[in-house]
Amino acid sequence: MPRIYIDGLPYEADSRQTVMEVAAANGIVLPGFCWHPKLSVAGNCRLCAVQVEGRSWVEISCNMPVAQDLKVLTDSDIVREYRKSILALTTLNHPVDCGICDKAGECLLQDYHYEHNGAPSTSHEVKVHATKFHALSSRITLDNERCVLCSRCVRFTHEISKTKSLGIVQRGDTSLVRASGDGAFETDAYSDNVVDLCPVGALLSRSFLYKSRVWYLKATPSVCPGCARGCAVNLWHRKPEWKLQALDARHNRAIERITPRDNPAVNGPWICNRGRDLAPLFERERATQAICAGFSVATPAAIEGARSLIERARRPVALVSSWASNEELAAFAAALGRHFTVFVKRDREPEPGEVVADDILICADKNPNSTGALANFASAWGPGSTLPEGTDLLLVWGEGFDLAQVPQSLRTIVLDAWKNPGHARADVFIPVSIQTERRGTYTNFEGTVSGFEACFEKDDSVAHAEDLFAALAAANVAAA
């Protein structure tokens, strides 16, 4: 375990680490565009240079192996002057279009320029122009004028997604990031990660393009419900203080973008493209009207109707949701678990064109909490499953089950969040809240528990399932 000194302070290091890694592990931020903890070292931006004590010039810390008693300076006069020069070079041909750039507010070049340079350009040359709005794929647009050629995106496709679909063509100041001609980038299921990786505004998501300035948005920690991996994500939505008054009020409840949230235990810093596309799934037309015996009723009346059906049932069966949180499942188990024969159903199956499974992140089970549900209720409901003999009440919680499969005479209670014509067949329908309106946890297929927070307030007409079950449990059922 060598000991190195950064700015005079000692730090223990692993002999395989670089100075940059030791600094990062100890909370010391060394600037850099090309270095990324999960990618190989390119060493081409030169911005992370440090001075080794006793030497008169600088060396890049991202490619500097540690050695016993190595002493590096990250803030000497030489380092400061060098960083200033590097940033002057980096900004030489970089357009000053921060005012219309989606990356403004979270751009490393902006941050570093103000921190380490801040001086106006000394160049009188016309900037080199390059392609703007180059469609790298149907999902990503590339502005080559903003690109600083850090090659993070190229290394990502070579090392992480393994499609080897991006490269740098041409040379010198005409170099351009380009996708290979075989369309491999278009089919890369993880391609959108290059947007997060890009330190500047060169690679941009076409779905988020010009949608919002990032300082109007707030990131709420959440878990991607797209599959059983349960990747940690941030759901970006409008900050309450920037609530829109005059425009469509739906903007205030919209998920503007979904980005990965670094979780080494689950997904690291990546998520798949499908996970980024889940906003429309959340934003489908919501069910807000409770139904009882064919009539629209207030939710408390529907709860009372459901409660009396449960009370009268002798052999009730429940199909619980694998999109439910552990807390909701525990609430169901505590309030109604002993009264019902419970099966865990899959709410969603792979859709046409969706990557079913791979060896990176994507799991074949397209439900976030099958593991948590099966930990509470051991029986799984599959394609060949049938209701037990004598079933006189069926409670369906969540999506993925068509009531047309059961006889009209069977009493049914449905708890769901989204509109579905099939709900009209139910004796009682109660609208419930969705993941973005409540906090909770999911257990992924490996048994890792991840938590999510609420982004929005639920509508008054819908109930939180967790609160519902105690109300559904009749006194004699709860006591049974």
Partner: protein, 157 residues
Amino acid sequence: MKHLIPEFEKLRERFPEGFDSSLVLPCLRRIQEERGFVADSDIEGLVAYLGVPRIQIEEVLSFYGQFRRAPVGRCHVEACRNLSCSLLGAERLIDHLSKKLGIRPGETTPDGEFSLATVECMASCGTAPMVAVNGSYHEAMTAEKLDALLDSKRRGD
């Protein structure tokens, strides 16, 4: 490209095992010698033969100015425009060539006889300005020398 595979196999023997990507350059050079340029089908063939990512071949092709992606004329005239040649009047020579041939750099005459290109340093700065025709160097060029050179090429010399 298939008929070149025995040659590629011989080339492969020169490299350590697992260094197939090192074959990209020599294979592309040989393909261009044979066809005059590198076609899309050649890229696909090389991807299949070497097992390298397509983007790697595209990077190499676009990095090196010597590789061509389209056919050129019978006489491929390349004029250097780098510093030494430029200081000694390369731009005037390139203009002269353009007027004489009726084409701009990057174009081919309608009869397919001549194509014109500008290139970076030919590593012959001591004899600037430089012009190459089909890879043969012609040193210390002047407008008169160029006229004589083009006339001789027209005659098929």
